[in-house]
Structures are given as C-alpha cells and as structure tokens.
C-alpha cells in the first residue's frame, strides 16, 4: 500500500460540518467534489491528485469530471488499468450522458464487453485515428501505450492511479497535457515479477506507483481526498479508516442502524451459524479454527468458508439499507469470497460446487479490487501459515479484503495469527530515499485482528 505523499498544495477542508456542527456526509462529499472539479477545470497545475478510500464514489467522480470537461469543450482521454474497468467506466459514462460521443479504444484480441452495444453514441475501434472525433476516448494503460505519433489530448483522467506502475505512466504521459489522477492509496501496490531493488529510492523507480513518481517530480500538485465511504457501513468505516488510513481518516456515509442484515431462518447453534449471527449483529465475524500449520489450500479452512457461504444462502438473509424500507434478499451474486492466492480461490470454488452453491464470486484480493458486495467471506491471508512473508503482510491485501462489503464481513482463520505476527516483525531492508509506508502490514494486521477478536466464534462450540 502506498501512503500519499503529502505535498504543499491546497487540501480540501472536507469538514462537511453543517450549521449545527454535526457531520453531514452528503455535504462533505459534495464540498470535496466541488473543490476537485474546480482544480481540474480551472486550476493551473498540470496534475490534480484525488485519494479515494474504498467505496467513496471514485467512479462517480470520474464520470462527472469527464462530462464537465467534455461540456467545457475539452478533448479528453481516460486511462484505466484493466479492460473490465474500462468497460465499466464507458458504460457508466454512456448511461449518464447517452448523447456524448465516447470512443472505446481496444485491442484486436480483447473485444469490449457486449453490454456496451446498447449505447448508440459509443464507438468501438482498435485504431485511435478512427476515434479522434470522439469527445472522450477511453482505453487501458496498456492499450494507450501503443498509441504513437498523435496530437496530445488537452486533458486526461487516470483512474486507479495508485495501481498503475510508474513505467506505465511513462509510456502514456506524452499523450496528454494535464491530468486528473484518481485512486485509492490503500489498495494493493503494483508489483513486478522480477527484482527492482536497484531502482529503489529513485524518484522514477519504474516499479513504484504512478502517483508516487508524479508527486516526487511535481511536489506542488493539488491533492484532494474524498472524505466519505458510501459502501462501508458504520460498523466498518472506523476500523478500515484507523487501520489502513491513519493519517487520512474518512467516515461512513451511513449511520449505525441504517444497514441491517437479518436472517429468516434461525441458527442451529453451530460455529458457522453463530458467526453469521455475530456478523449480522455487529458487521464483523471471526470464525476461528484450531491453531495448526497447514498447506495453503487448508482443507478444513476451505470447507469452513464454503459452509459459511452455504448457510448464508440457506438462512434466507435479507438486507435493509436506509432510507429504503424494503429489504432485498441476500442472493449469491451479492456475496464474495476473498483469498490471498489463486489456488485457495480454486479450492474454495471446488468446495462451494460440492455444496451445490453457484453464482458466488470467489477471487483473490488483486482481482476483487474495486468491487463491491453485500457480504464478504474472507480466508485470512495468514491462516495456518508457519511464516509471515512480505506478500502475506502487505497492507493493501488485507485492506482490499476487509473493505469490499456493504453489510458484513466474515473472516475465517486459524488461531495463533497474533502470535505468528509477534514472531515475524517486519524485517524488510530499509531503502534510502523510499518514503516509509504507514501503517506497515504488521501494524495493520494487528489492528484488524484486535478488532476481530471481539467478534470471535469458535468453529466447534
């Protein structure tokens, strides 16, 4: 996880205090958005950086900024990181403003989502030359990197900029004059499959995040942040904010009691049912299995995860979200299982199939980034491990897993992780010139564990 480098630029007040002094999330978010649009449309800086905590309306902001820039007559390019993100943004943009000519630039091997076909003003092409007439052109960073010898765009929006690598920005930065960089500093840092230590500490370390490089070279850029998470419930925002964003706190957009999860079928008193009841009541649940060193695809833990999901569906969950008085049924598509490794995800999928569960999203933290569900079930990255490596301690991994839910998050874990952490204090070499990251994964893991301990349910009563 990358902590934002605090620059000297103006910062949004974002206090969002109404006349009476009480916190008004809607107002705070509106103030922040207005300040961001002001910087983007009328500012003099070449770049504007927006830090957004999980579920703070980042995509909404990108769509809004794109529409306002287009309305002001500017030509605009949008850079996102994956094809799914690009398709999603294009869809939102075309839905919000059906007449806006949007160009979706794509590779010949990766065709855009069929869902985009319903937008008549949206043009898809593999060549940027055929899209120059579009007000907005949108593509992945990887695709933009192949665009050469073209007149630069006046404006760009770079989405998920903290997940973009510095070298990817180097490839595309020549295509625009100024840009709005939007992203979540708390999610997973970009990585490289080969060592990049020799460049650690250089301002343009190619394996670092694009925002880190940008701010190192342009320290005066205005930085804003979105102060309200609309996704995370009141039960989750304080923990996520404290554990992962200690210096840039945010609030939940909803109050206690605004979101409720109830089950139509009472629990049978077993571990999985009791942890569901605990999570429904408090927003968090920790299902603790006996301490044991296991292979990554710990069969007992995998079965426990699958059982929790099965019970979640069997017990007829209903979710209430104020102000809507009517509940929505908790269906499989509103549930996700998060793991650290791909083989764990595969094992959980197989276990779910054995229990006859279909339609639940099961994926690794990397691939759950940016997604949102009602309830998440997480296989703790350190469960059953004999060691705590930098990979498993990475702050962003835990942050992603603990911040995908609107109602409740249930963590399945073997006992003994706190002791494991104490046996493995962070011992990464200190690199000169590298901004020290706060909090480190060790600290964040302890913070989350301490909170989860209050919602602990043993596997067997």
């Amino acid at each position: 996880m990358t902590q934002p480098v605090r620059a000297d630029g103006p910062d949004t007040d974002g206090s969002g205090r109404g006349a009476g002094g009480e916190f008004d999330p809607g107002r705070a978010a509106a103030e922040a958005t207005a300040a961001i649009l002001e910087s983007t449309l009328h500012g003099t800086a070449r770049g504007v950086v927006v830090d957004s905590p999980p579920g703070a309306g980042k995509s909404t902001l990108v769509v809004r900024a794109a529409r306002e820039l287009a309305a002001a007559g500017e030509s605009l390019m949008i850079v996102a990181q994956t094809n799914a993100q690009v398709d999603d943004l294009a869809d939102r943009l075309a839905t919000a403003e059906p007449e806006l000519p949007v160009g979706r630039l794509h590779g010949s091997e990766s065709l855009p989502d069929k869902a985009l076909d319903r937008h008549p003003a949206l043009v898809k092409d593999t060549s940027v030359a055929n899209l120059r007439s579009c007000k907005v052109v949108i593509a992945t960073a990887a695709k933009w990197a192949y665009v050469k010898d073209t007149e630069p765009w006046r404006h760009a929006i770079v989405d998920e900029a903290y997940q973009m690598r510095s070298d990817a920005l180097l490839q595309v930065a020549g295509l625009f004059e100024r840009a709005l960089f939007v992203g979540d500093p708390g999610q997973l840092d970009p990585f490289s499959v080969v060592g990049a230590e020799q460049w650690a500490g250089l301002s343009y370390d190619p394996s670092a995040s694009a925002v880190v490089t940008l701010l190192a070279h342009n320290p005066g850029l205005p930085q804003h942040r979105l102060p309200v998470s609309w996704r995370l419930p009141a039960s989750a925002a304080p923990l996520v904010s404290r554990a992962f964003y200690p210096y840039t706190p945010f609030r939940s957009g909803t109050g206690h009691g605004d979101r409720r999860l109830v089950f139509g079928v009472p629990g049978d008193g077993d571990g999985p049912d009791r942890v569901l009841d605990e999570a429904a009541a408090s927003g968090w649940g920790l299902l603790e299995l006996p301490a044991r060193h296991t292979p990554r695809t710990d069969p007992e833990a995998v079965r426990a995860v699958a059982t929790v999901v099965r019970r979640l569906l069997d017990r007829g969950g209903l979710t209430y979200a104020a102000p809507d008085p009517d509940p929505a049924p908790l269906t499989a598509d509103r549930i996700a299982v998060g793991t650290a490794h791909r083989d764990q995800a595969a094992a959980v999928r197989a276990a779910l199939a054995d229990l006859g569960v279909a339609g639940v999203t099961v994926d690794t933290a990397n691939r759950l980034q940016g997604r949102e569900f009602d309830v998440t079930v997480v296989l703790h990255p350190l469960s059953g491990r004999p060691d705590a490596t930098a990979f498993h301690l990475e702050t962003g991994r835990l942050c992603v897993l603990a911040s995908r839910h609107r109602h409740a998050c249930i963590v399945v874990c073997r006992a003994g992780v706190a002791e494991l952490l104490d046996e493995h204090p962070s011992s990464e070499p200190v690199q000169l010139g590298v901004t020290v990251k706060f909090p480190d994964g060790w600290e964040a893991n302890h913070a989350v564990l301490a909170h989860l301990a209050e919602h602990r349910v043993a596997w067997r009563a």
Binding site: R46, S166, L170, Q171, A173, G174, V194, P206, H217
Partner: protein
C-alpha cells in the same frame, strides 16, 4: 517455494542426498568458462583481499593484496584482474556471425560466442558488481591531472564487469552466473534455501563423499575445523572466516607491514608477501575446486532445447556492449535514467516470462510444477467436434475434449497454447469449460473426481483454408499438452526517447545542460543533530 520443491526437499531429507529438480540443464555452460573466486577484506567495503581466476582448473591465477589498505596495492590487484579478464573478452570480440536482416532489423553481426564468467555464489556475483562500480570511473595514468591514477586497462575492466553484473539481473541469462544458483536450480537438497547459499554444504548434499550422507557431508563442510582451528571448507567468499582473519591473516599482514616500514631488505618483504599469498590462496583453493566440481556435475546434464536461444540473447548483449565500447561511449552512468530503468525492467519481465515458459517446455519436471499450479494440463483427447467461426469466411474452430488428471485454473475464454512438433509457433486455443468427470449416469464420483474434462477450442495453427492443415488437429486418443502461458512472450510497446521524458517523470534529463558536461556530484548529506549523538 512451490509445493513440488517442498516435496523434493522432503524426499531429499528422506533419501539423505539431493534429488533432481530438473531433467535437463537450463543454463548455457561455456566450454572454457572463466572462473572467478573473489575474497574481500573484512570491514573494508570494496577492498579486495584476493581472487583466484582463470579458465584452466589446474592453473589458476592467484591475485593477492598483501595490505588491502594500501591503495597502490589495490590498484595492482585491479590491473592483475584486468590482465586475466580483458584478453578473454578481446578473444571473442572479432569472431562474428552475420545475422540476416528481418522485418524489424537490418543485417547485423553478432559475436559467435561470448566469454562466460562463473562465480561461487550470489554474494560473489554482487561483489563483481561492486568491483565494476568502483573501477569504471577511475582515472588512468594517461590523465595528467589524476591524483591517484590507475593502470590503463582498469576502467575498461570496470565497464565489462558492470555490463556482466547488469546482464546477470536478466532472468535466464548466463554471461555471469553464480554456482549456488545453478546448482539449486537443478537439484533440491534437504536443507533450507538459506543454507543452500553455502557452496560446500550444497555440494555435500548433491555429491557427498563416499560413505557419507548429504546431511553429514553438509554439516562437515559448514563446521569441521582442522587442528589449527581453521575451517576445512572455508567460506566461498567474498567474506572470509573471522577466525582465519584474526588468528592467521592479521599476524601475517602485520609481519608484512613491519618488513616494509623497517626498510628491511627486499627478500624479507618478499618472504612476508609470499606468506600472505600462501594463506589467502589456501582459503581460495577449496572454493575454486568446488566451483569446478559443480561445473562437472552440471555438464553431466543434457542441455535444454531452448538454452541456445537464450544464450544467443546473451551473445547479443555481449556484442552490444562491444559496440558501445568501440563507439567510444562513456562508462555506464551511476544511476539509470527514467527511460533506461523502465526499459530494463520491461526487458527483464519479458525475459522472466520467456525463461519460465522455455524451462517448462524443455523439461517435464518443470512442466509438472506448472501443471500442479494449474497453469498447464496434459491429457488424452477423448473427443473432437468440428465447428466453424462465424463470418463471411468461416474458419475451422475444432472443439477438443481433453481428459486430464490436472486441474487447470482457468475461466472460460482463457487463452491456451499447445506446442506442435515441427511448427514454428505454438497453436493457440481457448478454454471453453473445465468440469469434473462424472459417472456415465451423471452422478459425481465418491471422494472427488479422478480427472477433469477440459473443452478447448483451437483457434489457430491450422493453416488458412476451410479444412485444417493435415496433422494440425489432434485426433481422439492423442496425448496433448496445453499451457495457459505463452510459449514465446514478446515485449510490450516501446518507451519514449530519453529526450522525450514526460513532465510526470521529471522531464528530459539534463535539459539545458550542454552535452559533454560531467554530471554534477551529489551534494553531501546535511549534518543533523544525530551526527553528534
């Protein structure tokens, strides 16, 4: 560490000796490699103590610095190393092949072979980089203003060592290799990867002396001492055994210093120097022999089919550096620029993907690791259904059902690749579905399925006609191997020229500075209160 590697280590413990981790040799080995075993002075960064170097295992060149704090003696060491290394480089520079022109490249020449340097372990490899860094900018006796000039070839040595050190960061390269890395790639021992860094212990596991098992041989290499207290198998360097430093080396150096300051006769100085040489040589020789022992073991393995392809890239690298030297370019900069760093990283990522794919294709044992990880699958074709693509010119898109004991971790639509004998590139395909095998009545097997049925759609490699090329579609009953990774990964798009470095990365370097101006020296760190603690 992969699950297979964990299993192999467990097997090694049970067997009492290392087990193979590869069925072929995955790195090029030169016929006459240059072996270099460096030692450094304890407590003095960048002050070499000595080295054993050469291409003849029976006649190593021994270089020793009798007093490492003496700059002149250190420079003498660098000159000696240059005399051992540079003639070898020169010998390969002029033997060239002509590489015919391709679509993207003009006809060019590439050196027919390149010198290979083998060091004992990764710490020694890092030390080669340090030697390169500390010598490539030195000013020579040709420079009248140099306060401490070095013999003429030393900076050139530094540039070659720097080039070799940088190239060694490219996955799969073999210009400069560490013996411990070569051995751990090809054998799994019953000790931890940390312990595998000890060359003597590693060899103890792989090829224990008669009558010993691996664990005992490794322990003996690590800890056994002669009656004089010295290790029988001294550390492979560059760090020395502290006991040797304190008890043996320090007194010998003191005698050498005393002989020099006393103004004693030359014979006495020579005798003291010979004494230090003998002692340093005694620490180097066992490691020298170990490196050659390792080379023998590796030579017994047949070379992988795609190793020559990677060695050719190493030859390109060697040729490129030769050309830069001949063009009179300045030494490699202290730090890479933004574009150069991004270029290197991209090149290494491609090289990593390439070597991973090539090693798996060359070696069933390595492929097994990928299969176990769900990145490849092998099995028998149980059905072929001919379908065609939509469009004006329907193309064959046969659907193969493959029964495999593996479990590929792939969503529908994932690309898959199959090596076709005789074809230049892999046949492309995409995964349609992965499902557990069920009984003929449709019910699942008890205790989980023994196999999975994978349906793949072939999408290429069948010629351009409506009927697939003969032999391009496997028939029912055929054994097939599919990978979910590309066989010949290509690099991504190019980067901007350094002069086009964008504003996000600091703009063009040295904008406004006239060409040829030396880079400004780094400002010293500001003094803080903590400096006086």
């Amino acid at each position: 560490m992969s699950l297979m590697n964990t299993l192999a280590r467990a097997e090694a413990v049970a067997a009492g000796r290392a087990v193979p981790a590869a069925t072929v040799r995955h790195r090029h080995l030169a016929e006459r490699p240059l072996v270099l075993v460096p030692l450094t002075t304890a407590g003095e960064a960048g002050a070499p103590l000595g080295a054993m170097v050469g291409t003849d295992r029976d006649a190593p060149v021994l270089l020793v610095v009798p007093q490492p704090l003496d700059r002149e003696l250190r420079f003498g060491f660098f000159a000696g190393l240059a005399a051992a290394v540079l003639p070898l480089m020169a010998a390969y520079e002029d033997d060239v092949e002509v590489e015919p022109a391709t679509r993207n490249r003009e006809e060019s020449e590439v050196c027919a072979d390149a010198p290979q340097i083998v060091v004992p372990n990764s710490a020694a490899l890092e030390y080669v980089r340090l030697l390169g860094r500390s010598t490539r900018f030195l000013r020579t006796v040709e420079d009248p203003d140099a306060p401490h000039p070095v013999p003429v070839p030393v900076p050139l040595l530094g540039r070659w060592l720097t080039h070799y050190g940088e190239r060694a960061r490219t996955p799969g390269s073999a210009l400069l290799v560490a013996m411990t890395e070569l051995l751990t790639r090809h054998w799994a021992t019953g000790q931890s990867s940390m312990e595998d860094q000890h060359l003597g212990a590693l060899l103890g596991w792989i090829d224990p002396p008669p009558g010993l098992d691996g664990a005992v041989a490794a322990e003996r290499a690590q800890t056994d001492r002669a009656p004089d207290g010295l290790l029988l198998s001294p550390p492979a360097g560059p760090a020395t055994d502290p006991l040797f430093d304190n008890r043996v080396l320090a007194p010998a150096m003191a005698r050498y210093d005393a002989a020099r300051t006393d103004g004693a006769d030359a014979a006495e100085v020579a005798a003291a120097e010979a004494d230090v040489r003998r002692l340093v040589g005694s620490q180097l020789r066992p490691t020298w022999d170990d490196v050659w022992h390792g080379l023998d073991l590796l030579r017994a393995l047949p070379e992988g089919a795609r190793v020559a392809d990677r060695w050719k890239r190493d030859r390109w690298s060697f040729t490129g550096h030769r050309d830069r030297l001949r063009a009179g370019e300045p030494p490699q900069p202290k730090r890479d620029g933004a574009v150069a760093a991004a270029q290197k990283l991209a090149g290494r990522e491609t090289a990593q993907a390439r070597v991973s794919a090539q090693e798996a294709l060359d070696d069933p044992l390595t492929m097994a690791v990928r299969r176990l990880a769900g990145e490849a699958f092998a099995g028998e074709v149980t059905g072929v259904e001919m379908t065609y693509s939509e469009g004006r010119r329907p193309m064959p898109r046969p659907l193969l059902t493959v029964r495999t004991p593996d479990l590929p971790q792939a969503e529908p639509g994932t690309k898959a690749y199959r090596a076709v004998p005789g074809a230049k590139s892999a046949q492309s395909a995409e995964i349609v579905s992965v499902a557990p095998e069920v009984r003929s009545d449709g019910t699942p097997y008890d205790g989980g399925p023994a196999a999975h049925l994978v349906v793949v759609r072939l999408t290429g490699g069948m010629g351009s006609g409506r009927v697939p090329k003969e032999g391009s579609v496997p028939e029912a009953g055929a054994r097939v191997d599919f990978t979910l990774f590309e066989h010949d990964p290509r690099g991504g798009p190019g980067l901007p020229e350094p002069e086009q470095t964008p504003w996000t990365h600091g703009g063009p370097p040295d904008a406004g500075v006239p060409p040829g101006t030396p880079p400004p020296a780094d400002a010293p760190d500001p003094v803080t209160a903590e400096d006086y603690l």
